[in-house]
Symmetry: C2
Subunit: 252 residues, 2 copies
């Protein structure tokens, strides 16, 4: 049974995809057989790893219950991807209904069985797709920027996680809130960090991901940051986050 982790936050542009892609790459390089599921109709994790979008394979096929021939290899040996495509926007409606959620979970159980880790990149909303993902995983990582609007949405995502935990998925836990695009020169970033640590205590990941243009550039080259510039601050950040989260989860 793989360890399943959703990367979710309804606030847009907080670094969900960047975290999902680079964490998946770090886990795979560390020897874990890793599956990255791109559950976002935008498909940024798919193109961020240089893969094409194809409606016949990938996540939309799994939503329809298909389990064979759906995976795509990546430039990283132990990393495979369940790719997105624009049709995935139809999944919002399909997964709002119970039978839709049951079908995709059965498919993901089969597709994910041979992996050690499964990561799911979620869209910026709290609709059917994100809730279906939260209903299937063991834990959730919430990337967040040190900005007012992002902080505002935090209570919302934490309460949805609690709802899913007391409802459909009792084993769901918050693995941690990870600060992204952190700029230590900005006083209000420091203030927000202190504020967050005071409220959420050990639920705030010790690893902080700094703002580093190498992360954006790597994505435009279709490779994870550890392949693009392994000496960058961004690469170091995600290597550290991989180690920190490995201790959290059920290390096989």
């Amino acid at each position: 049974m793989p360890l399943r982790t959703a990367i979710a936050n309804q606030k847009g542009g907080v670094g969900k995809t960047t975290t999902a892609m680079n964490l998946a790459a770090v886990l795979a390089i560390g020897g874990r057989r890793t599956l990255l599921i791109d559950f976002d109709p935008q498909g940024n994790a798919t193109t961020g790893l240089g893969l094409p979008k194809d409606p016949a394979r990938g996540t939309m096929a799994a939503v329809r219950g298909v389990v064979d021939g759906v995976l795509s290899p990546t430039p990283v040996e132990k990393l495979q991807v369940l790719a997105s495509c624009p049709d995935l926007v139809e999944a919002e409606g399909l997964l709002s209904r119970k039978e839709g959620r049951e079908r995709v979970r059965a498919a993901l159980d089969t597709i994910g069985a041979d992996f050690d880790e499964v990561l799911l990149d979620c869209p910026p909303s709290m609709g059917g797709i994100t809730r279906a993902a939260l209903g299937w995983v063991d834990r959730v990582v919430v990337p967040i920027q040190c900005e007012f609007f992002a902080m505002e949405g935090l209570t919302q995502i934490l309460s949805v996680i609690e709802q899913v935990r007391t409802g459909e998925n009792p084993r769901l836990e918050l693995a941690g809130v990870v600060l992204t695009m952190f700029d230590p020169r900005l006083p209000f970033h420091q203030e927000v960090l202190e504020n967050l640590r005071a409220h959420l205590k050990e639920k705030v990941c010790r690893t902080i991901i700094p703002r580093d243009v190498a992360l954006a550039e790597a994505a435009s080259h279709g490779v994870p940051v550890v392949d693009y510039d392994c000496l960058s601050l961004g690469a170091y950040g995600y290597l550290e986050l991989g180690k920190e989260l490995a201790r959290h989860g059920g290390e096989a």
Copy 2:
């Protein structure tokens, strides 16, 4: 009849809310009676202007067809807001159906009648809410960051605009694509800008909004940037954008 403008892009975190709030403030300060509609369940435009979220008034009331007592005043004299609340997430489903869209449009026709300008802040998705907004407005402004993932989504939003124009709303036009969080020190920001200008020509706004922490700080104080620090680059950027878009639109 007011000039109606949607601020939309399904990519998250590109500056939709920051653009909607600050453009609305600039138009109001310039003498236009301005209504800002917060169509995003996250409600960042509502709190960004220091307003409370209230399920009994605001956009969710309009979605249910209510037109009286729904507006909130703001610190800016000629600016009023149709506030968001978390219940607005229910509107995604309601507005995917034709009768839901017709009801909210009739309500917005009445609510917006006494204004010169109406701006709509959209959520980061291409679902029912954004499509209903595009079906009602005269023009759309697409904020975009100079980043790979944001560029990728541009073709998607431009094709949805075209679909709505040839379908439900023949008068819909693209007022412009506006670059936000621009950092002239980053070579790939310059490259993306040149690339965008080559493809979209005059549809790329001449005004570019620079990365300026004053914009994020103003939001955390619940005021538009022109009130927070009128000498900031962010304030200057939105004043210029207001002028540029005024030339575009049907100046009363």
